[in-house]
Every structure is written in C-alpha cells, then in structure tokens.
Subunit: 510 residues, 4 copies
C-alpha cells in the first residue's frame, strides 16, 4: 500500500510538515517523530512537531481568521462545508487508505469513517440555514425577548488514533458552519491522515473568497502540543478525545482559565443479552462490536451481561464465530480483524487476560498474539473471558478485542452491573421484550450517553448526539443540538416602547 | 424589623441549624458564625456550620432521594413545584423581609426577588410536561433514533449573598422538576433566608407522598462547606455563583473529577449611550442599573460608554438624579439605596475611586461614606467617575455603586471598549438607531451573555437564559433550554427489524 | 343530585342565559331548548339559544377584546390562566357534578375531565413564557432573520356533549395564553357545564385589570349558532369537535372564506392484541376503553384485532369481565357504566348489532337495553360482537359501548385491518414483542394520530398533541406545538447594514 | 434563444408530453395547448394536457411509490435530493433560460429562481437527518410519551407561471425528503420548465435503487387537471399557489373530503417609509420590489405608505429612477424590466390605472404600453400613482408593475393602512428608528406573514417560512418547520411497566 501523495502537502527536508496554517505548511521546530504503521510496525514517514510557540502562532492566525469568518453569513459558511464534502467524496477511497496505513483499520471501516465525514458535511450544510435560537414571550409590554447563537471563537481539537478523521470532522465541519476556525492536534500516530483531511479543507477554501486562510490549522506532536492548545486563552473551547487521564488534565487546565471543554473519554461498554434475545442477531452484533477496529473503538463492546439460561449457548456460538474471523493485514481483502496500534496495547491485552484469570475468569478463546501470516505489527486472537461475577478487571477499559462475559439475576441486576463502572459511553440490550427494553431506556436504566436496543454498542449515526456521562466526560458531538457548544448564546431584550418597566414588577422611581 | 420566625425551623441551643436534610434540622458541628445585618452591622443570629462529614451525609441522603425521585413522573414533580409556588405566594412579603434583613435590599427589590422565585415555579411547572428530547430520522430501515433527557443526580448549589434566594430558586425549582435533589450551600451572610426558602420546599413536600424527604438539603458555612460539595463524586453538577477566584477553584475541583459546573461569576457590565438615545429613558435605566441593590448585582452597571456629543449633558442629568437618591435604612419606606454588605465592600469602593482618580478620573459625585441618618452599617453615596479612557481600574469589577463614564469614537470603538474586559455577563445600548442596535446584537457586537437595547444591564426576565461568557463562566440558568444542564441525555437507537445494518453503510459479515 | 347553583349565572325568566359576553349574560332570543339529563331522561333546565345576530355581537365583542389582549404580555395572560386553574381546583367536584348531570359520566371520569382542565392550565401557564419562535441564520451579511408568533384573533370553539368541558378547556386555556378571546358554542346537551366553565373564567378575569371583559363568550343553541360562528369573517380559527358530517360542513364554510379549521371528528379506534400480549393487562385496558363513558368517547375502543391463537381465551375473559360491570345511575357510588346520551344513541346501538349479526357476527354478550334498576334514561349492556372478518359495519363508528372482535393472519395484516377504515384517531397494540411494537409505531404502522403500546385507545395525557388523520380531520389540540394553531407566524428579516444585498445572490442595479 | 432540448423529454407527435410518471412520458389525451412566450407573444411549443383519468393514473402510481418510499430511511431520501441538487447545479443556466422563455424573467432573476431550488435542496438534505419529533415527559410511571413524524402520502402541487420552478421545488424537495411523492400540475403557461425540472428528478432517481419511478409526476393542463388533483382522495395534501378564487375553490374541494391544503394566494404588499428612512436604500428596494419580474411576484410591492414630510422627495427620486429602467426583451443583456405574461395582464394594468385616476389618483410616471424596441409581447412602463388616500383600487391586487403611493398621519395610522386590505403576504418598513421598527414587528404591527425592516417586500430567503395570512391562505413553505405539513404526526404512549395507570388519575377498576 502506497501513501497517496496527491492528498498530502509537500515534504519539507524529507519530513511531513508539523504546522499547517491554512495553506501555509511548515516543518515544525519541535522534535521529529516517526509513527510506525500498525500493519507491519515499520515507520511510515517522518514528521515535524509543533513547539508551544508554533501552536501559539497557529492560534493567533485562527483568532484573526475568526474575526472575518464570524460575520460571513452562516449559509455561506455552509457552502464551504458543502464543497469540502464534494472534495471528500472525490477522494474517499484514497483518504481511507491513509486510515488503513496509520490506524490499521480494514478498508470497510476506514471508508465508513470517511463516509461519516461526508454525512456530517451534509448535516452541517443543513444546519447552516438554521442555528436556531428562540424568540421568547416577554413579560413586559413593547419588549422583545430573543436568544441568538453567535460564533464562539477558535476551537481546539485534540483527537486520538482510533478515529483519526471522523472525530475531527464532527468538530470541524460543525465548528466551521458555526463560524469557528479549528486548530487540530491529531494523534502522533496519524500525522498523514490529519494532513490530508486538512488539505481537503484548504482546497475547498481556495474556491471561496469569503474563507480566510487560517480557518483550518494543524499542529502535530505529542502531549505538549495539546497542552499548549489547552492553555491558550484565545481558544474558548477545547474538544478532546482520548484517555481519562488526558481528559482530566485538559479539563483542569481549561477550567483554570474558565474556558469550555468538550470531552470524549473512555468507555467500558456493556451489552445485556436477555433470554428473549434473537441470538443470531446478537452474535453478529457482538462480534462486530467486540472485534471491529480490533476492539479499539471507544464504543467497542467490553462486557457481556447475559441471562444465565442462555449464557452457555451464546458462548458456544461466539466461540464458533470467533474461530472463523480472518485476522491479519487489514489491507488484504477479506480481513476483518486488523492489528493493535502498537506494543503497549498488546501488552495490556495480555496482562488484562491474566488479571481476569486471576480474578476467576476462564478464557474461552483467543487471547494470544498472532505471529504467523501477518506482516509484522501486533496482531492478536480476539479474546472472550467468562467471569464468575463483575470483578475489578471488568471495571477497567482495555483498549483491545477483549470481552468479558458474566451473568445476571434479574433485569434490575443486569442494569446495575451495566451501570457499575466509572465510564458512561455506550450500552446495549438485546431482548425481544418491550418491558425489558423500556426499562433499559428509562431514567432508572442505562446511565450511558448511548443506549441501544437490538444493535451493538458501536457504530452510531451522525444524526444523534454522540458522547457519554461520568468519566466519559459529558461532551456531545455530531448531531442533535451538539452544535450549540460551538457557539455562544446571546439573550437580548429590546425595548421598543417609551416606558421602562422593570422585570418582576419592581418599582424604582427616581 | 423582626425575624419572621414562622418561616424558620426551630433554633437548636440558641443557634439556627447548619444542616437541613429535608425536614431534619441539625445544629452543624462546624464553627458557629454570626453574620451581621448590613442594615446596622449588628449580629442577626447565630448559625451552625456543616462539617465536611455533614456535607457528605447530606449528599448521601440526597443521592438516596434521587433514586426514588428520578422515577416519579416529571408532571408529578411539577406538582410539587406548583405547591412550593403557592407556599411562596402566601409568604411573599415575609420572605422578602428576610432578604432585607440579611442582604440589605429595599423591599421593592426583595419582593422582586421572591417574585422571581414564583415566576420560575410557574415556568418549571410548565416544563414538567415537556423536558423535550427529540425523535430523529434514522439512516437505517426499521430503526428508531431518539434522544431522551433523564434526571442527572443531586445538584450542588453554591450561592452568593446578593441574590440569596433567586439563584437557588432558579437552580432548585428547575432541578426538582428535572428529577434532581438539591444540596444548597448558601452564603454565610444569609443563613436565615436560605433556611426559610428550604422550609417552603419542606412544607410543600410534606403534602405529597411521592416526594422523598431529602429532596432539599442545606449546608451552612464558609468556603470549606462549598469545597466539600464541589469534591463530592455523588454530585454530578455543581452550580456556583460568586467571584472569579471562587469559580476558578470550584471549576478545577469539579473538572478534576470530570463532573459538570454551571458557573455564574463576575460581570463588568457596560452600557453604550449613542447620540440618538432617548436620554430621559437612559438616565432612569442607568440609575436603576448602577445603584439598585447598592450596585451589588452581578448585572449592575459599572461602565458607561457615551457618545462625546452627549456625554456632558448626560453626566449633568445623572449628577442631578444622583443628588435626589434616598439613601439609608432599606426597610424605611422610600429608600432606594441601601447599605453595602460590609466593611470590605466599603473599602474596595473607596479604594477603587482613588485608583480611578490616579488613572486620570474625575469624581463627578458621591464616593464617600454616609454616616448621618443611617442606622449603622456601611452606606455610601453612589459614585460617578468620568474617565479619560478605559483604564485598568475600569476593567475590574468593584461590587458597589461605582460607575465609570468614558467616551467612544465610533460604534465599532464603543463595542470594542464594551468587549475589552475579561468578564462577559451583561451589556446594553441606548440608541434610537436600527443600525446601531443591530450591530450591537450581531456576531461582531457585544460578547456578553446578555445584550439589551434600551433597557439597563440588570433585571433579566426568567424566560431567557441568564449567564455570561468569558470569565463570567459560561453557565446559563433559568429560562430557554437551561434545564438541559440538570439532566443527562440518552441517545437511543432501537432496531425493530430482523436485520442488522451498520451505520455509514459498513459491511462486516462474519 | 342538585344543580350547583353557585357556579352558574342567574336565570333570566326561569331560563339559563343563551349568550354570555364576559360577565354580561343575556337570555338569547332564539328558540328555548331543554336538554334532558341522560341519567333519567328528565329535563334539567331550560336554556335560551343565541340567534345569528347575537353570535355576531359576541364575535364583535371578542374582536374588540382581542385588540387589547394581544398586546398584554403573554406571561400576564398566563397569570390569568393560572388564576382560572385555581378557581377550577377550588370547584372541582362541583363542576364534575354538572358533567355527570348533563353528560351522564360517572364521577371518576367527570373529575378526570376537570383534572384535564387543571392540567392544561398548568401547561398553558408554562407556555406563556415560551411561545417560541426561531432566530434563523440569514444568508445575507448584517441581516437578522427571525420568526415570531403573534396572537391570531378570536377563536370559535364548537364542542360536543361527550367532553363538554375538556375540549373547550384545551382550546381556550391555550388560546387565552396565545392572546385570543374564545367564543364557545357548546353542545345543546350541556348548557349548564358550559356556563359554569365560562363563569370560572369570568371570576378569574375580574381579578385582573389587564383582562378585557369579552375574553370568553358563550353562544348556546343548535347547529345554526355553530354555523353563524363558522361563517364569521372575524373568526380566523374555528375549532370544531363532533361528527364527520358536521366537520365537513364547517370545513367547507371556513375554507370558503379562507379561514382556518381545527377539526376533531370521529374515531373508529382499534386495538391489536398479539399472541405475546399480557392478557390481564389487555383485558383491563379493553374494558376501560370500550365501556368507559359508556363507549361515548371519540377514542373509545370499537375494534379488537386479535391473534387467532388467543382470541377464544381473550373473548372468554372479556365476557366474564363484562358480566361484572356495574351499570346504572352514574351518580350512584360504584357505577362504572352510565347511560347513553339519548334515544337515538340507543337505537343506533341496537341497529348496529343487528347489522353486525347480518354480516356474520356473533353477539358474545350484552347488546340489550337495561331497564331495571335504572332511573330512566337509556342504559345498555355493553356489547361484544365476534366478526368473521372486518365487514362494512366495523368500518362505521357507532357511538356506544359496542366493540367488534376479529382476527388477523400476520402483523402486517393486523395493521392493514387497523388502517382499513376512513377514520384515523386512536389505535393501540398489546404485545410484549419489540418488533411488533416497533412496526406498529413505524411509518408503515398505524395511520392514526394516536398509536399506543400496551395501553388502551382512550385516555390521552395533555402533554401530547391530541387528534387524528383522515376523516378525523387532522387537527391537533392540547400539548406539543398545538399552540401554534392559535397564533400567526411572522417571518421577519431586518437589515441593519448599509447595503441592500438580495437573496439568492440576485443582482438588480438600477 | 433556443429551447435547451437536452433538458427535456422527447416530443411525442411533435408535442411535449402532458403526463409524466417518473421516467414514463405520455402525450396526454386532453386538449393540446400552446402557450406563447411573453417575450414576443409567439407560440413556444405545443403540449398535451392530462385528462382526469390520466391525473388519476398518475396519482395511483404516486400512491404505490409512496408505500415503498415511506420506509426508505429519510437520510437516504435526502441523498436523492442531494443528487437532484447536483443535477440542478450542473444545468443552472440552461434551466434559467427556460424560465426566461416561458415566464419572461430576466436571466438574473431566472437564475435566482434556480438558485432557490439549489438552496432548498441543501436545506432539505440537512432536514433528512432531523425531521424532529419530541420525546415528552409522561405523567405516568413507566410510560414513555413520544411524538413521531411519518410520511404523509402523495402531495399535489398546483403552481403559477410567475415562479414556475421555485414553488414546486420548495414543495417537492421537502416533500421528497419527508417521504412523499409529488404530482405536479404546473401553470399552462410554463410546460417546458416543469418538464425540465421533473427530468432533473428523474435523472437523479435513476442513480438510486431505493427511489421508485413514480416519485415525481407531472400533469399538464388547465384548471380541470388541477381540479382532478384537488378531488383525489389519495392526495392527502394539496399545495396550491395562485389567485384567491382558485385558492378558494381548491380549499373548498379539499375541505369537503377532509384533506389538507397549503395555500399561497395573493398579496397586496405595502412598504411604510418613515421620515427617518435611508432614502437611497429605500429607493433601490422600492424599485426592485415594484418592477422586478415586471411586478408579477406575489410579493411585489403594490402600495407605498409614506411619511408626508418626505413623500415629495421620495416620489421625485422614484420617478427619476424609473426613467432609467431598461425595459424590453428579457434575454437582452442589461434589461431589468421584461414583459407582462400576456394581454389580460396588460389590460388589467391599464384599467387599474384608470380606476385609480378616477378615485383621485395622479399618475406620476409610466402606465403605458411600450411598443417600440420590443420583440412583440406586452411590455409596459412601470407606473407610480400618487393617491390621496387608500381607496378601493389600492385594496385590490393588480399583477403588474403598478405601485400606489399614499401618506400616513402616525405610525399607528401607517400600520392600519398596511393592514387594511384583505391580503396578508408581505410587508416592509423603511426606518432608522428602533421604536417604529419594533412596533411594526409587534403583535399590533403588520398582520402579514412576512414583515421586513429596511429591505423590500420581495426576495425571501429559503430559511424562513414563506407565506401569509388572511386571503393569502395561511400556508407556509420552504424553511422553519414548514416541513411538518408534509408529514403526519403520531403521538405514542408506550407502557413498559406492569400496571395500567390512567391519565388524569382516573380510577376504573373492573
């Protein structure tokens, strides 16, 4: 698989640029870094990193761009996003290739991720003629009370390797329509796809006079680049996706300057399978949710909470299905399970299985590294571990294709298990029963941001709000009214009369 | 003025209780404290303070209450709030008296504050049959995509002396309807009004079997009680009103545990007066906004940005109006300007005037302490200071009746001055001109959460969302969709078909 | 049972007034009429009827009231409705008595109807601080695009005997909050409850200076009074509840003058009972929906579409339950089935059963008049008729406790049967199955305005929009955004810049 | 100017088809008709007309298509509309040519009309992932209350010559996304543009398997084809644009079968010009609104209500501007005023001027036919008539470039004049004054569906709801929540508990 050079800016001294401010690319004066492709563990390219000063320069440029962009009418901003969408449609499979190379996804999933970008463009274009505030009944005669949503300012986006494009796309397509330039700190694992994504914006922006150059910026590098972004007073919103410790740091930094955060942190997603479930459907859903993206989605299925009457049968079916999974080079046609992103992931996978066994678990299948027939990299057999109860290890997220299975006593107990972890991203129930489904979706049901019935924990549509509660961080991205986070609300009262009545009927006559 | 004992719980060892968990009142094992009435500087009462353990006990009780309250149908929760509203209507003037005693407000403003509570009850009752989520068009056949809003959990409310009732009422009436118990840490200056407010809830709750005892809790005390609340993992939302340093601390504490904050911090509110303004209306608006509540509203007018052609005339009118202001004991009929809350406020008032003078300002009127004809306490003549430009002192908030006046060159310049401070709460323009008004309300206009035309900066209606940007903290309370902050969003996809299509058209066939 | 005189205006020449314009009551120069109480068939009172001229006078007065009321701030209008709600709470059981007397409802249902009024007051009060329009992103620089909802004008309400209070309450409480006076033509069967309802408004209005006298008007009489109302050019909206032929006439009359209609016409409501249904729950739901209000609700259950495997068992249970129904004087404690409204209803009931038998039906129980132990009036044993298929008679609405039972082949067939009638009001499915429930609620499911799962066809909450499709007339009342029908929408574009850009980028330079 | 044949279906027997059902074109067995081009009065082509039977066949095909289309997920329906938008972008100028040929618009306006189609595609695509219903707080435990919007059925569209594309596009792009096939009866004046518009849909539909053939249908002809459409029981919604008498007939016909109408009938649009208006801007706005599309927009400016102090100056400026208007062949570069659509229009124009003069009016300029330098057709000099007061002729709509000017005494008087006509479509005020603008937009202000400040009466953006009150018919198209009219609302209550509580707390225990 070759790097599709036509999507990328020119290398500078054999190095991919570490700083992009619109169509200006610079090397980046920070340390160079060379992520390996998960496919074979070999270095893909060399990239420059941005220093704190270079981050500041990008932010300053975005801040300037903001002043112009905020007064461009939103439907015109929408037209830019429509053109970006057309660029992406035209380059869909090439963009997907970069995801395969850098994140190790199979093409079906990589293209799905690009499709998500396309979808969110369509959605954002529609929003661009809405961005609805309210007109509100005022309690005072000859007064008008309205609420408007105005552009917020430059948005910092910190994203993770596992959705190297879609998370940025959710934030930036909606942010652009809302009037906000974007400064992106991608994962150090995925410098190329981030440059290519940015380049799509640059190309579309070139076709419109209204679009200032610095609407889109990229700052490559490790945690320090993200930290510089989080600290910047000129960045009113930081949208960060990644681990809980990272999120906690960003949250504290941004809180200290009274800025806003949009956090998408970890998930520890469970599925309840009741005795009335359609097991064939459940098996397919479980397999996709547990091993898709090699278990490296924030919404990957980590815990199965199963009715005792069906647990043995379900395990049997799953083990059978797991035995047929094509594992290996994701770019090879037919592969369903690609590599882990790197060695630390492999180690955590193996360690968690050991811990689970120590806590009484039985390994049903998988759990070992695959070394034959793979091009290097870290490949594993996805693991299923039957647990006697929900032990400590089940309450931690292991970012790999490792799924625990335990049983429940009653539907209330099942929900209690589901909710009994610190994370609150995604959840699902498989049941044919109206009451079980209803209870699962009720105020006393799943405490996650996403709760599904008869579909898996992963694979959300862009039309809903994506995100979760508790340690997942509370942010919401993509659909519904997520766009409001990228704007500031202005509550306006206009007195068009000749008197000055006070609210709450107060009299104050000088 | 006597304390209306019938609104208050019994004293315990001659001390007002420091901990209230529903109808259970306890002394509080923390240090006792005795706020003075701003009216005369004399101690009003002795109160107990809650220790961190007692805060934890209140939170635990609220957490238990939450489990029951969240499954009580919202319209039934609304019925509780309706009954609270009836209690408050029946005790309006007595409740107002407590505000006068503890916060020093004149009765018109104290009753206005109680009216705000009544208004928010009516609004919340209506909400209780709404709490609208969305049904959303799904991209998959035989799938339903919906979004529900569920109760969030116990809400911590930290409030300030200057709105000792309304801010809690905004949070708790809406919080209760949303399914959340409330744990309130009021200002240590206003223990009695907070107990009386709580008691209204207790009385209404007694009439309904569905209402658990601990729906409303109060923990009295100083910063440490608030800190204990902010730290509690069982409190998913902390709504805090007060100073920027306080807000910053709370924000960092809550961010560190990935909880949510709703901050209402400082304002440094300006009014632009253009050459087309109706000056008579402007003068009335300025006086109320600048000296109402003795300049101790977060929305009080602090800065006047005036067209040079009219500045002299406006100053003259204002000075004349200020000369007639009845200052003194707020409980005396006719008084419009009551006391500052205490000595530190007086000192900051005097110091700021000095600083302003040192930065080139001219004191137009007021600025000194009133010592004659007042019953003790800290009374001042409200001050107007003409400034040559927007200097440093103007960029700080002095919580007192001190208003700076400066001039502008162009409407763009006026908006730049208005926005040139760290705070972003309230703002106003007085103009007869459609274009000036339009620009002020536009994306390039005022950067505040509240932007008014031809009314002052203070005195918002409860129907709009109240709050501000930048250092004001970004929270919104009361009207519009502020209620969403008190709930958690659940995005649900339900597959009612027999197939399992994946989003974004992904194919993953095992 | 005595008529509660304290709720009613004074009689005029031994006759209840036929025209009420606010607190001005007049006899009515039309023919006198004397409805009989369904309880015993005896005349309750004599009433005057309004002539076309008197209707015109009421409309003219309402039109004048409109000019004042439309500029009263909506929250103040809401305060009126809040006070109406308090009046109604205070007189709930007495108001219910009038419903029992005139419509023959049992007290539980009569009080439920008054409770509905109370509920809609609470809801409308909340609306009064909302009535939300939108602020919308404009495509032109320095342009603001908003949408406001303004009061519409006097609303004509034509209501039926079976909900002699609630239907008017839905329309008028929301209409009043929206700024519209109401002119009510009640059923000639229920003159007293309508006067008492009106009187509650009058009493509340007296307490508020802002409320003009003629906000509420009543014009008693038969079809000609309704016709006069429908024709009036000063009545922009006519909300009519009743039969299809009546609705068709009103619709044509109002369409001819390009006014608006809100129609709530007939229902022919079905319930599908699948083999997974909880039969105990189903039986209870069926009995209430079929025989409540003696089958005289527009949402009464008329058709049961049952899975063949369970139909015999279900019939058996129903017949057993029907055998225990206490039938008779509705004011007697314990009665569940009161009288039909009059002789024509009885005759249609008997005739429909005959027709059904002629079309192959088997009468399972009931179907005859009850003459013993009843105080006169028309009482019947509720009937269940087993039908071999959905014949012609099942496609007609008989307004009586007559329910047909037939079976289905597949869930698709069941839905086809459910949809295979001209009416489209209410529908229900009893099932434990997620897929069946999902399909029933899907775009290819029930074509009714109301579609329930595991509850009966009748007994809607006020928070949802009430009404139906097809011959039911398409109107929606009560909750959700039904209020918009009582207002007019104003789309406003405001240019606050100095240029005049045209939409769609058109250039037109003179 | 040649007919762009590549956009059109093949002729049948030298005749353009009169019936199109998806990609099946048929001649039409009705009378042939040959509209003349307004440019030169010469026949453009011959077209077949559809008979009532052929209309019925189209409706039946659309009804079948509906059954399939309603269950295609809305975002997939949106994808069809996105592709239609791309087709239109690719053929924009050629489509515009057809509008010039058939309706006589200048290219700038013709392209603006096509742009409106493109804009509404973008908007509709966004809607396709929304179509938001509500989830609503239920009053009963373990009950879920939601509201869904489902596809409605085939929509009949009857459109007029003056917007031969945009009105259909508003209805059909949104209707398609909502799940409804469209049957279009275009004006008999514009058969070709309607065929070309339809063909764009056909081409896009061919690229998607999910799109049934008969999603788009066209039935050409005169009033009888429209009548057949209005009568059809299979068409739940008829959207009709045109004259009041036409609208009244359609409304009655559809009301008689209890269907729904969306009416866009006449306008008699006024602009108030106050003494504070920016006259230069006002003149430009007036000229475009009065003479654009040769005064043949439903939103064309017909009445000027001017402050007496400025009326002479304004008239002078207008007369001067009118003198420079390039009148003639619309396809000739530079032309701003093209032809009237035909002779009857010309006659009404001339007659109205005479009547106005008889009622005291003074013709300021124009008012006569232009016969030199034009290619045939009916061209006129746009007329301005100064009226002593608002006489009868001003209360009628003359569909031509004829604008009356009168004066007002007070702003209240100006609004009274503005509202003193039977129509209620569009209105505007030119003022610099916040109070005048506020009053004009208030509940006591303009009674039109559109009310603008400092822009003309015509040229709405697609983001707002378009339509008007009173005789204009009350319908709303295009933006905001207009889409709801193309769907049916389903209110669903789901009991997921084991009990059966009744609403309003009713007890009914068998």
């Amino acid at each position: 698989m070759d790097i599709p050079a036509q999507l990328l800016p020119q290398q500078i001294h054999a190095c991919y640029p570490g700083v992009a401010i619109g169509n200006k690319y610079e090397l980046g004066s920070g340390a160079k870094f060379s992520p390996s492709s998960p496919i074979n563990g070999e270095s893909l390219c060399q990239s420059g990193a941005a220093t704190a000063d270079e981050v500041a320069a990008a932010v300053a440029a975005a801040h300037e761009a903001f002043k112009a962009w905020r007064v461009v009418p939103a439907p015109v901003r929408g037209e830019l996003v429509r053109r970006i969408g057309d660029e992406v449609r035209a380059n869909k499979s090439e963009l997907a290739k970069l995801i395969t190379l850098e994140a190790g996804k199979i093409p079906a999933e990589a293209e799905g991720e690009i499709q998500e970008w396309i979808d969110v463009c369509d959605f954002a274009v529609g929003l661009s003629r809405q961005l609805y505030g309210l007109t509100i009944a005022s309690e005072r005669p000859e007064h008008q009370l309205i609420e408007q949503w105005h552009p917020l300012g430059p948005v910092g986006v910190i994203s993770a390797f596992n959705f190297p494009c879609a998370v940025w796309a959710w934030n930036s397509m909606i942010g652009l329509v809302c009037g906000d330039p974007i400064i992106w700190k991608p994962s150090e694992q995925t410098p190329l796809i981030s440059l290519a994504c940015h380049e799509m914006v640059v190309r579309a922006a070139k076709t419109m006079d209204e679009a200032p150059a610095a609407l889109s910026c990229v700052v490559q590098g490790k945690a320090d680049a993200g930290e510089a972004l989080a600290k910047s007073e000129l960045v009113p919103l930081v949208s960060a996706t990644g681990s809980v410790p990272m999120g906690r740091e960003v949250a504290k930094t941004v809180a200290g300057r009274l800025g806003k955060c949009l956090l998408e942190l970890s998930g520890n997603n469970a599925m309840i399978v009741t005795e009335t479930a359609d097991l064939e459907l459940a098996v397919r859903a479980i397999v996709f949710a547990a091993v898709g993206t090699a278990g490296q989605r924030c919404t990957s299925l980590r815990r199965l909470i199963v009715h005792p009457d069906i647990v043995d049968g379900l395990c049997e079916r799953l083990v059978k299905a797991y035995a047929t999974l094509p594992i290996g080079d994701p770019s090879r046609p037919g592969t369903l399970v690609g590599p882990l992103v790197g060695k630390p992931s492999l180690e955590r996978f193996l360690a968690s299985i050991k811990t689970a066994q120590a806590q009484g678990g039985t390994l049903l299948c998988g759990g070992d590294q695959v070394t034959e027939g793979v091009p290097g990299g870290c490949y594993v057999h996805p693991a299923l571990v039957r647990m006697p109860e929900q032990t400590e290890v089940m309450r931690e997220e292991t970012f790999a294709p490792l799924t625990y299975i335990t049983t429940y006593d009653s539907i209330e107990h099942a929900i209690e298990l589901q909710n009994g972890v610190a994370q609150g991203l995604s959840s699902a129930i498989f049941t044919s029963d109206v009451r079980e489904a209803g209870r699962f979706l009720s105020p006393a049901g799943s405490d996650c941001g996403i709760a599904n019935v008869n579909i898996g924990t992963s694979g959300a549509e862009i039309g809903g709000a994506f995100g979760g509660e508790k340690e997942t961080g509370g942010g919401r991205e993509s659909g519904s009214d997520s766009w409001k986070q990228y704007m500031r609300r202005s509550t306006n009262t206009i007195n068009y009369g000749s008197a000055l009545p006070l609210a709450q009927g107060i009299k104050f006559d000088v």
